[in-house]
Symmetry: C2
Subunit: 437 residues, 2 copies
Amino acid sequence: MKPINVGLLGIGTVGGGTFTVLSRNQEEITRRAGRPIRITTVADRNVELARSIVGDRARITADAFELVRDPEIDIVIELIGGYGVAKELILAAIENGKHVVTANKALLALHGNEIFAAASRKGVMVAFEAAVGGGIPIIKALREGLTANRIEWLAGIINGTTNFILTEMRDKGLSFEAVLGEAQKLGYAEADPTFDVEGVDAAHKLTIMSAIAFGVPIQFEKTYIEGISRLAREDIAYAEELGYRIKLLGIARRTARGLEQRVHPTLIPERRLIANVDGVMNAVLVKGDAVGHTLYYGRGAGAEPTASAVVADLVDVTRMHTSDPEHRVPHLAFQADQLVELPVLDIGDVETSFYLRIDVLDRPGVLADVTRILADHSISIKAMIQKQPKEGSDRTSIILLSNLVLERNMQQAIALIEKLPTVAAAVTRIRVEGLDN
Amino acid sequence: MKPINVGLLGIGTVGGGTFTVLSRNQEEITRRAGRPIRITTVADRNVELARSIVGDRARITADAFELVRDPEIDIVIELIGGYGVAKELILAAIENGKHVVTANKALLALHGNEIFAAASRKGVMVAFEAAVGGGIPIIKALREGLTANRIEWLAGIINGTTNFILTEMRDKGLSFEAVLGEAQKLGYAEADPTFDVEGVDAAHKLTIMSAIAFGVPIQFEKTYIEGISRLAREDIAYAEELGYRIKLLGIARRTARGLEQRVHPTLIPERRLIANVDGVMNAVLVKGDAVGHTLYYGRGAGAEPTASAVVADLVDVTRMHTSDPEHRVPHLAFQADQLVELPVLDIGDVETSFYLRIDVLDRPGVLADVTRILADHSISIKAMIQKQPKEGSDRTSIILLSNLVLERNMQQAIALIEKLPTVAAAVTRIRVEGLDN
């Protein structure tokens, strides 16, 4: 059969990986796809860099807009990133009747609804497996593998940088700052790590998964986001004493009152498989009403793992491009006219368990005061550790695990606890998820 | 759009689950598939049982062959099982131009090549996600999610009964026989558990995955099979002392000398995620050259988990049935004319590490004799435990972990060790897999 011609926008890490994987595995990929898939044109501002990777195996241009208008090109891969020119190029490619493959989670989280609507109007596909979980086929699992299910919730470790940092903090007993420096040296964290460590990247990915899981539009602005930069190593150690690990989780859940979409550090019982996903690895745990729990694990970033997802999308699009659009897999899993509006809950309306660390002066009655306030807010305690003060210090820590409580109630209780004269510092509170039902 | 009409062959556990899931989640499934998917006819010899499940929501017949000829039916689900009438019915359905969805791993492992060839000739699909790993979308991951990769190996816990038994043996320190009885009471093991405990069921599933991973025909008869019925609880305990868990793994690997296809108890380092997959849960670990390691975890059996996969196949077939056959996902991942013949290695030609337990008389020089024989066969030792004899006994055990060795060499060494006058019983040998490269 006739080869599929692909244009590649951006030949950085993932772009280079995509070119390499497609070349190296050309024979197997063709045996699977039924026809050759070849990158015929690469657009990159750095023409020399592009030439050094591509050699004479593809045409190189500095003009990305020329590429997306090229009538010879069937599929455009967008690996430029960001919200600006990447969006313009994707919309121009769609306008020119090209299918698009992208890894751009930030763009889809903010402008996905608009982009998918444009694609539907033109009858083309926008594929984005690489946008979530790197090489893990999690979009495919949610969109196609679990179609029988009413999905109840999903919880994912979907940012490798933060998972690496949390793993190192735990393994080596180091502070956040110390490990961040190490991660930057190893190339696991950016020079400006804000998007990763403050949970924004995870929130982008979570928002996309939530839309696919529940059949709702992408609603990034309603996602609650809390990163790991204020996490203290002692809380990781106390969590461990209680039988928990702390992970940055992206959680989307359907409740009777609305959807939860939230990213925050989370205590998870250490016996859960996902609690043992360490280093830069990612994993997503999904609860469906028929299938129960399934988990998907792999590398969430890196040149070739991400390229694996990009190329899988190329093969999918190659297979589906001759079919009538209404028989293709819908962009957001549900048919575009079948999305529903479900309210996303304010974090104050979310019910979870909590871990609290309360640093107090070692005086009689402190514990009674604290537990009285919790009881007044109908917060019951599941486990507690009280530490001996260190030699020569009159300060100590009370560590508590609560049962399920509305976040708003917990906030009120914490505000009162912090006003106690015997409470020496702001209360540390970290949400807890059992992930068992 | 016009509904898709489905005929269901066999309304046992999975058939009942499929009917239930499709009814309960009708609304979400239709929103995904773009049209209603409904079971219009059920064929079962037990018409009364069928009526008690289906009520008046579908026509019921005792004549399965009538169903597969019914011109109103688009897709036939085969959930009868076995090699006999199930095969006839599937071939008749194909002959009548129906698409087929089946969970019948035994049939596909033995007759899949013939069935897929018949389907290709008629331009229909035979979908079988439910045949491997129950509700885990592992066939989809291998066939579509990892198309960019040259798959190097996969290793799966793909039989829930044996994983439950191994987990209980370890947790409770019980013997195989004791736990088997418990598993039978709980419904996790059949009255005749041979297929499960002797590894045959796992081998069926492994053989199907191997074909998809490597683009070779299904070759069940070449799969090496060893079950768990002779596994002693002391070996589980010794493995634990060495930092390993014992799992029944199905392993398929591409080597320079040929393919490995083997099912056997295996020591896995306890820090590997898959070593922590317990109870009836299944998981498959896949190594691709681009993506690295990915893992897929979930329930490998049961009414609704298996129904989840059956219904996902229904949605897939519904989406693809209007497309031209050459643009569909090929049955075995690679285009039918692109399968290659790779030799499957005899188990004697497979290279692994080994765990050995050698029960010996507590005499001077025993260890020297054993290690001399191993050295003579170029087998080096990575770890060793020698136990003190029990009070009043003159017997003790030597436990060894070897480095990589050709199985044939190890067999020769073991034969010589067993001839030593100080060796008191047959040597126990269990293969070891690091799963790290």
